[in-house]
């Protein structure tokens, strides 16, 4: 066995990575990225951009077509806003209605720097907290813009009739989320994502009624069509009829969410997938920072092998709930054996490990830290339930506030918990454990949210942009809506300004013919395998590999093993997959198989990215790199860059392209949530 530290030094100087990536090509000058960050001081960059960008006049807008794939917060807000501006928008989703996109399940809230609570909040502080929360691996200029437009989002949503929670005086209420010392989170009960999405859906409906947006439901994108180096259309499969359809446009926007279901079990919806990202990847778009996947600390633990998904318990619960495990191992053992109940453990024998380790932020430390701390306690033998669970206890909140106040704040979440676990959280503490929840990594985009393919944009969770190595709670809704309402509608005009002479074109071109043929061949190839395993069975196997080896704690050996195991799963997929039914028909098994094929690509890239990043930062925790007290140890001298990956072929090695990160407005330091 080689000393892991030595091995890592070898990777830094690249011998091991040569097995997995094309190191030589990486050094070529053509593999540079231009992030197009505007000139000027950070607070003026976006203003400068908007002042100098090119525009499209109203008469020309209606001659320009834009495809938006996805109807979550990012997709619906972008489609409706582009429609309001007068563009001709084609909007696609895989569900039966745009209102069902998984943004709907976001519970806790949305951040903005309104400083309504007079607690010292500001745009700079929201920007700072987000960059720090992301462990200094995000692009400074993007994050500042995000913080800058966050306030507009709240104004916009209130005007749409989103019923945010209010105080008795009639003004908006706020609560606190992890990684912040101010109360800046706006919310609508535990259903903030639902209300924001329904707001965007309503705006979208208004444009559909007006005819500026055409909505295509139950359609899944299977390829992006490139003509003369620009994204000009998509190929989709009609999920009801099985027909393959073509759509052309002047620009294509991907708003297709994250790839968290690479772990099989996650808090994502069953249909969530990373397929659009893989299709873009194979056409030349870079995928970035794929190792940065968020494991959310407060989910209901796994109950058994037949489980299909995990349910999140909102981070807002950490405002009033206290997280603990028994101090004594024998108590933990007795609880696991069913001989003791949590309520039998006196306060002095409870280890409130987050409050102990991170006194300044306590139970509200960021998600990556809370997740790892839970895993650390469980690995050390203090876990409860099956051993992989900790307590989230409301006893203290009920004593302090009364049961009615707790019910008013969290009633629907408590009901949801009781439904699933059959335990009453008013009487006994909740059991929680971390689960895959969100992916910070994704399609690489520049400041304009354009990918490395001209005319192909990526917004919301499916891009990599704003959260660095870890996303703070209540920031996903903020980013999705910032991209869709306030950023893309501007940058899109800058792109389309020189496209006004390009006439609306037909889909009868050789490029569309080839893309459709490729899709048909791909489907035929999968249908012809006629093996014995269902897509779900193989997906579960992939999920086990990813959770065990590319999950919360990663090691060099583990990642090397993960890559070879993913290759094994891939072999099984191509040799033993069984898809019943026909391809020219409604076929949910085929849908799953196509998504799984893409997950296999993403999963391997996640492992390669994690292997390349020989440091711990945010949610990416390489066990070799930790401080004496178990905190993530970054290596800014070597890894302060965005790792962008370029696809070179199914069986050849990807090329790593580095986008260096520069911090001018923020002093880079070690994250500290202790004091």
């Amino acid at each position: 066995m080689i000393d892991p530290v030595k091995l890592n030094d070898m990777i830094d100087s690249s011998p091991i990575m040569q097995d997995f990536a094309d190191i030589e090509s990486s050094k070529l000058p053509e593999y540079q990225v231009d992030s197009k960050i505007p000139e000027g001081p950070i607070a003026e960059k976006w203003t400068n951009y908007k002042a100098h960008q090119k525009l499209v006049n109203p008469a020309n807008k209606r001659h320009l077509d834009i495809i938006v794939v996805g109807t979550g917060l990012a997709g619906a807000s972008a489609a409706s806003t582009l429609g309001e501006m007068g563009f001709n928008v084609l909007n696609f989703c895989i569900q039966d209605s745009p209102r069902r996109a998984h943004s709907i399940a976001a519970q806790g809230g949305i951040n903005a720097a309104k400083n309504y609570q007079n607690d010292g909040d500001s745009i700079y502080r929201l920007f700072y907290d987000t960059v720090k929360g992301g462990d200094f691996r995000s692009r400074e200029a993007n994050v500042y813009r995000l913080a800058e437009v966050a306030n507009n989002i709240i104004d916009q949503c209130v005007e749409q009739g989103v019923p945010f929670a209010r105080e008795y005086g009639g003004l908006l209420a706020n609560r606190s989320f992890g990684g912040a010392q101010v109360s800046r989170t706006f919310y609508a009960k535990g259903q903030t994502g639902q209300q924001l999405l329904l707001g965007a859906y309503a705006s979208l409906n208004r444009q559909i009624q007006k005819g500026t947006v055409r909505s295509f439901v139950r359609r899944e994108m299977l390829d992006v069509v490139i003509i003369d180096g620009r994204a000009r259309g998509i190929i989709v499969r009609n999920l009801v009829t099985g027909e393959i359809e073509r759509y052309a446009a002047h620009a294509v926007v991907l708003a297709t969410g994250g790839y968290g279901r690479a772990f099989f079990l996650s808090t994502n919806a069953m249909g969530c997938n990373g397929s659009a990202a893989v299709q873009a990847f194979k056409k030349g778009a870079y995928l970035a920072n794929l190792a940065f996947t968020q494991i959310h600390p407060t989910c209901i633990p796994v109950h058994g092998e037949d489980q299909s998904k995990l349910t999140l318990m909102s981070e807002s619960l950490r405002n009033d709930g206290r997280i603990w495990v028994p101090k004594k191992k024998e108590d933990a053992e007795a609880i696991r054996a069913g001989k003791k109940k949590p309520t039998d453990i006196p306060d002095e024998d409870r280890d409130f490990y987050l409050e102990r380790r991170y006194p300044a932020f306590g139970n509200l430390c960021p998600r990556d830290i809370a997740s790892r701390a839970a895993k650390e306690r469980c690995d050390a033998g203090y876990g409860v339930g099956t051993g992989n669970a900790v307590y989230l206890d409301f006893k203290y909140a009920i004593e302090r506030l009364g049961e009615d106040v707790v019910r008013d704040r969290y009633g629907n979440l408590f009901d949801m918990y009781q439904m699933i676990s059959d335990d009453n959280p008013y009487e006994t503490p909740m059991m929680i454990f971390p689960a895959s929840h969100y992916t910070m990594g994704g399609i690489w985009v520049d400041y304009e949210l354009q990918t490395s393919i001209k005319g192909l944009f990526a917004i919301g969770e499916c891009n990599f942009s704003d959260h660095g190595a870890n996303r703070l709670g209540a920031s996903a809704l903020m980013q999705g809506l910032a991209d869709g309402y306030f950023v893309l509608p501007y940058t899109m005009q800058n792109y389309l300004s020189d496209q006004i002479k390009v006439p609306r074109f037909s889909t009868d071109t050789p490029e569309f013919d080839k893309a459709e043929k490729d899709v048909r061949d791909r489907i035929a190839k999968l249908m012809a395998i006629k093996g014995t395993k269902s897509p779900d069975e193989i997906h579960k196997r992939l999920g086990h590999v990813m959770w065990n080896l590319v999950g919360m704690g990663r090691t060099l050996q583990g990642l090397v093993k993960a890559i070879s195991e993913i290759d094994e799963v891939r072999k099984e997929f191509y040799s033993d997959l069984r898809i019943v039914g026909s391809a020219d028909d409604l076929n949910t098994e085929l849908e799953k198989a196509l998504r799984l094929e893409d997950f296999l690509v993403i999963a391997k890239m996640m492992a390669i990215d994690a292997l390349n990043r020989n440091e711990s930062c945010g949610a990416h925790f390489r066990e070799e790199y930790q401080t004496a007290d178990g905190e993530a140890a970054r290596r800014d001298d070597l890894y302060m860059y965005v790792s962008c990956w370029k696809w070179t072929g199914d069986d050849s090695k990807p090329i790593l392209i580095k986008e260096p990160l520069h911090y001018e407005a923020i002093k880079v330091q070690t994250r500290n949530y202790k004091s």
Partner: protein, 251 residues
């Protein structure tokens, strides 16, 4: 503690909208009572696929009761026998060992069956497109705190806005009426100051679209509210009636 049970399933299977459907019987052993209802159907489908048969198809997505995608008429109740939850939140511990469970799609003229348990609910989108919004373009909104709204009003609007658009109300109604669905959206905006300008137009347009799409009339049986997984109250329908009459009187 969780245990395992056996269940007998009677499931509606139908190839397409125009084809004749029928109940098919299945037996399933070793179902953990900790599993959700849809996980039980996943198990059934896994068995069917292993035998080379096509799985029973059903709409589902978030599996935590909020997206509104899942449906299913279970033992005569939309979203099953437990009140206030969606099908995906129903757990097998609510069923006895050896129980017979009858599973059907939503049955309503306005929701044609696509295949097996999947129906076409696009009529709901069309009703929302007719007026379920505040006509306001992005950009230029006043400060969010410029118009105070009392907590009581905001809370009632929030309760109406909680509708997930699943269609259980229509499925539960003997007339196939969409009044609860429409009234929830009309109420949300009728209560809030932002919705005032288009209040009348909205009530008229949404009701007209609902009628046009073949939903039945409301006879106040209250089945919709009783079966609603989000417990949207019947008072919304009363409010919609007032809104509609006021709008008509001003014509």
């Amino acid at each position: 503690m969780e245990k395992t049970i056996s269940v007998n399933l009677k499931i509606w299977r139908q190839r397409g909208p125009k084809e004749k459907g029928s109940f098919v019987n299945y037996h399933l052993d070793n179902v953990s009572t900790g599993s959700s209802f849809l996980e039980m159907l996943d198990m059934l489908n896994q068995h069917l696929v292993e035998q080379g048969e096509e799985p029973v198809v059903f709409d589902n997505d978030c599996r935590e009761g909020i997206c509104g995608m899942c449906s299913l008429y279970i033992n005569g109740h939309p979203h099953g026998p437990v009140q206030g939850i969606t099908t995906c939140q129903l757990h097998m511990r609510k069923f006895e060992d050896g129980a017979t469970i009858v599973i059907e799609p939503w049955r309503s003229a306005a929701f044609p069956v696509i295949r097996d348990l999947i129906v076409d609910r696009s009529a709901f989108d069309k009703i929302q497109q007719a007026g379920g919004y505040v006509s306001f373009n992005c950009g230029g909104a006043p400060d969010a705190n410029a118009t105070p709204i009392s907590k009581e009003i905001a809370d009632v609007a929030m309760d109406s806005a909680t509708c997930i658009g699943c269609g259980a109300c229509v499925a539960a109604c003997k007339n196939g009426s969409a009044m609860l669905f429409v009234s929830a959206k009309v109420s949300q905006f009728a209560l809030l100051p932002q919705g005032q300008v288009e209040r009348k137009r909205r009530a008229r347009a949404m009701v007209a679209k609902m009628d046009e799409l073949g939903f039945g009339n409301c006879t106040n049986t209250g089945a919709c509210a009783a079966e609603c997984p989000k417990s949207i109250p019947l008072s919304n329908i009363a409010r919609l009636n007032r809104e509609f009459i006021k709008a008509k009187c001003s014509d």
